[in-house]
């Protein structure tokens, strides 16, 4: 089963990378960009029996650093979201 894990910096956390990319977009002449935030997408191919709980544990223990990041787990056809 294909599963996508979307990892984003928490809203209060400054994103220096996003800010640099924002500046670059403006320097290139793209107007109207209010903010840029950069995260990462992790694709997992897991067995059908993998539970939401197991996926959450993978995110909490390794894939995301919940001090600075939130994660979202997207299973094929269903979306379960968790703000850690």
């Amino acid at each position: 089963m294909k599963t996508r894990i979307l990892i984003r910096l928490k809203s209060g956390v400054l994103d220096p990378q996003g800010r640099a990319v924002h500046h670059a977009l403006e320097a290139m002449g793209f107007a109207g960009v209010d903010d840029v935030r950069i995260g990462k997408l992790i694709e997992l191919d897991v067995s059908e029996s993998t539970t939401d709980k197991e996926l959450r544990a993978m995110c909490q223990q390794l894939l995301a650093n919940t001090v600075i990041e939130d994660f979202e787990i997207e299973r094929l056809g269903s979306v379960a979201s968790e703000n850690a």
């Binding site: 400054l14 220096p16 640099a20 894939l63 001090v67 600075i68």
Partner: protein, 233 residues
């Protein structure tokens, strides 16, 4: 006196030899080198050091993979028994990822790798690492990192300050923050004061003959503090 120290090497560590050389130079005792796949540490250690470098190529996040390696389970158990742990640079990142220290090290605010000698102000003077210093005393210690921007939420930062767990702060901030670290934090202690994580590299500032040209031998004093606190030398 007998001082038993171990230095952990992960794939991608590159300051492990320097760390061992520094500890041996100050203590006069051989240091045990431990590989990341080992699951046990030697008995009776006084100090475990996590060196700088790019463990596991900084995959996923700096220190994230190393924090889950077999040797880290043993290290966390030893730390909980009170064995002193020093994590420098990538070692600091590994300590935050392992949960032994709070917060996280993010990409430097200016996006650039910073490699220069930094001025630190001593904040804590009661830990095994800092007891020989005066509060506010300045040290010159090199930094070399891309991800040294210390972040923790305001409640955690307030608690760290209230509990006297900030070991060092960046002091040369007249032209702005060194790397964007919250409250200019350069080093953080565990609640019992026996685990220190710091981005600057004391092991790169230990030789009074070689280092005037490079900036300082203040790092040697941190190792001297450790020795005095742990074995009374």
């Amino acid at each position: 006196m007998s001082f038993k120290a171990a230095v952990i090497t992960f794939p991608g560590s590159n300051c492990d030899r320097d760390m061992a050389v520094a500890i041996e130079a100050v203590s006069g005792e051989p240091v045990t080198r431990v590989w990341h796949r080992d699951s046990a540490l030697p008995a009776g250690l006084d100090l475990i050091a996590l060196p700088g470098g790019f463990s596991y190529g900084d995959y996923l996040r700096c220190g994230a993979m190393a924090a889950k390696s077999p040797i880290m389970r043993a290290l966390v158990a030893e730390a909980h028994k009170g064995v002193a742990v020093l994590g420098v640079c990538n070692g600091f990142q590994v300590l935050t990822e392992s949960g032994l220290l709070p917060g996280a090290l993010m990409r430097n605010q200016g996006q650039r790798f910073i490699c220069r000698t930094a001025t630190l102000a001593v904040a804590n003077t009661s830990s095994p690492f800092t007891h020989g210093f005066d509060k506010g005393e300045e040290l010159r210690i090199p930094v070399a990192h891309h991800d040294g921007n210390y972040f923790a939420d305001p409640a955690t930062l307030d608690a760290l300050e209230a509990e006297d767990r900030v070991a060092f702060r960046y002091a040369d901030t007249a032209h702005g923050s060194l790397n964007g670290s919250q409250r200019n934090i350069a080093g953080v202690l565990s609640a019992d004061g026996r685990v220190l994580g710091m981005m600057p590299h004391p092991e790169r500032a230990i030789d009074p003959v070689a280092h005037p040209a490079l900036g300082s031998d203040d790092g040697r004093r941190i190792f001297g503090n450790i020795l005095k606190a742990l074995v009374g030398a």
